[in-house]
Symmetry: C2
Subunit: 111 residues, 2 copies
């Protein structure tokens, strides 16, 4: 850890442009599989997706489990630790809806 | 913008390991000046600090104003847009205090 500051510690885990989008896809869109994540409109590069899934599993935010043997494929689910990032994302939604023109208000309930 | 998703739009502005630490220093520690930010325990590199302050001003999160002419020096203050990131940070604090061992609970009221 860079410091014992909780904000800093959180950013060390999810302070990048992609990890929280994967959490978003899992929470609100029910995505679990590799090609579902690459289908999102932000078009996450596959090498970044692979890296972030590995990091997020190492940090205890997600768990992987195999769903196919040949070729081997995994699906990914949020742990409680990952799921509980939801309030952070909800505050980001409120903030962006208020301050960044052109952002859409989610059609699903977020509170 | 990568997409009209508000979470994505927020991350395009503050989805990095440093910008929100600068916001933290401004909100809770009242920091406004360059050397005050470099004094924080995370030791932000000066080139990154300069880059982030420029980006944050371009994004409308902070405003700079000169406080000294020779040599020229600026101080930085949050705009309403920057200040209203507070609820995002507070949710990060709650999340990290619960899920990341070794993080300290801030001694000042955060709610």
């Amino acid at each position: 850890m860079r410091s014992p500051c909780p904000i800093c510690a959180a950013l060390d885990l999810v302070g990048d442009k992609w990890s929280l989008l994967i959490v978003r896809d899992m929470i609100w869109l029910g995505k679990t599989r590799y090609n579902q994540f690459t289908d999102s409109p932000e078009h996450i590069p596959t090498n970044i997706l692979a890296d972030r899934l590995k990091r997020m599993e190492r940090f205890g935010l997600i768990q992987s489990k195999p769903y196919q043997d040949n070729p081997p494929r995994h699906e990914y689910h949020l742990t409680d630790k990952g799921l509980e990032l939801r309030p952070v994302l909800i505050e980001m939604i409120h903030w962006a809806n208020k301050h960044i023109p052109g952002t859409i208000t989610p059609p699903v309930p977020i509170d």
